[in-house]
């Protein structure tokens, strides 16, 4: 009760001291917009980093889910908020793809990107009793029978698959499911032949052996599934995956971005956050504001060649 009263007093004081400078930032609660629903992977990462970062900022960070349009609604909403550092947004790979497809009015330039938090490669998964044991088995089948291999896609369009199709000049029959939780049962039940999801999305089935990983689409092998070779090792030069970071509206003062960046660095280094990510088989990938901005630019170009 006491803390509620206190925070109300603080909030009240803030309203009086209108136009507070960056010097006393942060002086009130911060809001983090998550563009996907409560209970999903993006939501979990957002809530956990918010929980870890609040100790370093000395202010609470409350998560607000704003869903719709595959992330477009929440990210556009976040981009249009007041640029005072009190509304942040979890920015996902969709910011690089959706604007180019005409499905989102705002893009990376509407944000000042703060930190990349998480980068996960896609893993190629088939049923445990599938005849495919390597990525080349799959490619050979797709070449022999174009458009016949059934691919359970986690989204439409699916950039993991498009990257592979383009590189190998093959065509699979992509059936769009609604996320990994639908695509995985479609492979488990032998309704489709193959899917691509992130390691965290399939960690249960990988550990129990219900699904077989025939390649991971990262530069190097990843620690959670050390026995799974990369596609590059198998002679297929395709690297793809998904990522999540944090951004603020584009006019946010640089001093504020710096304070936040430092807090998120500290948050990513906490045991609590590291343990959470490790248990969910997700990889922490910290890029600072400039690196992250460059990274998104390059990814936008890379996705552009697939979309067109």
């Amino acid at each position: 009760m006491n803390t509620i009263l206190k925070s109300m007093l603080v909030a009240g004081g803030m309203m009086l001291a209108a136009g507070a400078s960056a010097a006393d930032y942060p002086s009130k609660n911060i809001r983090l917009v998550v563009p996907f629903g409560a209970g999903g992977g993006t939501d979990a990462v957002g809530r956990t980093i918010a929980n870890s970062a609040k100790d370093f900022l000395g202010q609470n960070i409350s998560v607000m889910n704003r869903t719709g349009g595959a992330g477009a609604v929440g990210m556009s909403f976040g981009a249009q908020q007041r640029a005072d550092g009190y509304t942040l947004t979890v920015v996902t790979r969709e910011i690089a793809s959706l604007p180019q497809m005409g499905l989102m009015q705002h893009d990376q330039d509407d944000f000042k990107l703060i930190r990349l938090v998480n980068l996960d490669p896609a893993v190629v998964l088939v049923a445990a009793d599938s005849p495919y044991n390597t990525i080349n088995d799959l490619i050979a089948e797709a070449k022999a029978n174009p458009g016949k291999v059934k691919f359970a896609s986690t989204a439409a369009p699916n950039f993991y698959l498009m990257a592979l199709e383009k590189d190998q000049d093959i065509k699979l029959n992509a059936i769009p499911y609604n996320g990994a939780s639908e695509a995985i049962p479609a492979v488990l039940g032998n309704h489709t032949d193959v899917t691509m999801v992130t390691p965290g999305e399939a960690i249960s089935q990988l550990r129990s052996g219900q699904l077989k990983a025939i390649g991971v689409m990262s530069q190097e092998r990843i620690s959670y599934i050390p026995d799974v070779p990369t596609l590059t090792e198998q002679g297929v030069e395709v690297v793809t995956g998904t990522w999540r970071g944090i951004g603020a509206p584009k006019d946010t003062p640089d001093e504020v971005i710096e304070i936040l960046g430092k807090a998120f660095d500290d948050a990513m280094a906490t045991e609590e956050f590291k343990e959470f990510m490790a248990k969910g088989a997700m990889t922490i990938h910290n890029l600072n504001a400039e690196e992250f901005t460059q990274f998104v630019k390059e990814d936008t170009v890379a996705l552009g060649t697939l979309v067109k």
Binding site: R47, V73, L103, I175, P176, S181, S204, K279, G280
Partner: protein, 492 residues
Amino acid sequence: MLEHLLSGLAVAFSPAVLPILIFGVLGGIILGALPGLTATMGVAILLPFTFGMEATPALVMLIGVYIGGIYGGSIAAILLKTPGTPASAASVLDGHTMAVRGQAARALSISAVASFVGGLISTIILIAIAPMLATFALRFNAPEYFALALFGLTIIASVSSKNILKGLLAGTIGLLVSTVGLDPISSVPRFTFGNMDLYSGFNVIPVLIGLFALSEALSQLEKLVGNKHTPPPKFDHKLLSKQDLKDMLPTAIKSGLMGTTIGSVPGAGADISAFVCYNEAKRVAEDPDEFGKGSVRGLAAAEAGNNGVTGGSLVPLLTLGVPGDAVAAVLLGALIVQGLTPGPLLFAQNPEVVYGVFSSMLVANVIMLGIGIFGIRFFCRIIEVPKIIMIPIIIFLSVVGAFAINNSMFDVGIAICFGLLGFVLNKIEVPSSPILLAIILGPMAETNLRKALLMYEGSWSFLYDRPIALAFICLAVFSVYSTLKINRRKAQ
């Protein structure tokens, strides 16, 4: 197994866990009863608080919220005609009719007992044959989901028994509304008018709040303003009779079994189950005309049907590591954060957690029954609240609820629009439930039909060469036929 179960029960009744479980169930009931606040939301918000807890109490609390949340929606549905969740919309049909007649206590007790029976059966099946059920559920894919949705849509005829034509009109409105948004296969915007808030279509919760809660508030308001003398609400404290119990038990047990099966299939949840069970109870009833006019069986079927899902939806989670619905997805996260691997390994590596969960589900259902029955005296007070106070409260809660689901004023606007639509439709006696059914089932039918066609490379053979799909299509045909027959009998 029995040994694990007994030690699990010992954990569920331990002083460290039982209060958490009671807190979870009670919290869930309150969340469920309020429009716009769902069990999924409660579970997701509580999740970070469980990071520091041990695995069993953490899961027990979340499961308590889940079970309480599904039941809580019905209290508001029965007393105020404002279902707290889509899953309790079917309970309005008979439950609210009973309450209007002054039998609120009877309706609430039937609802509590039926929910308990459904939940208990579901849990027992989960404990006994989860792996078998999971194998069955895996056979479901696009063709089966399409056939299930098609069958579900035929229920429109059965929930609009007064006038099938008006029911179909409402269903068509719902189907039209459900086409708004990015199309599910190729992401082409449909009827969005460039407004990004419409890209994912209409969220079902604001639509529910508008169609049921707000439109009801408007109707009440109109009566109040028109100064039509309404007699003071009468109600007695009579709970369900022995005869009621005898009437409802077979229906409740059957609905619990059906609910478990529907729940075990990923992607089909409590809302669909409640309507399917209602439809089935009506189909086999000797007195189908009573349905919608305060039928004990109708209410029991809907209530046992939605709570029957609770155990079923944990089947794919615990046996395959795949979440069956949004709540199960949060539970999956909770398990993973605890360092556990959901799926077949969980039974081998952490039986104490699995059986802890099973036992607390059994106990949670008992707690739910207890709160449901002992709370009736208290819940009924709501009816005594003068309309002039109650109407603003309902409107306030509706607006807050519509906003809370996605922190969006746009959703509040949607709720208001559907409130007006519902109000107008009420006047011309067009039922609201078919709109809701069509909004839930329309996208399911469309998406899965198109997925199935992709899967079969344009061939329609999945309609007859997949036994489960064929069975649902036959059920759909039969459902339409039997409704027509009932109507013809009525006409004569």
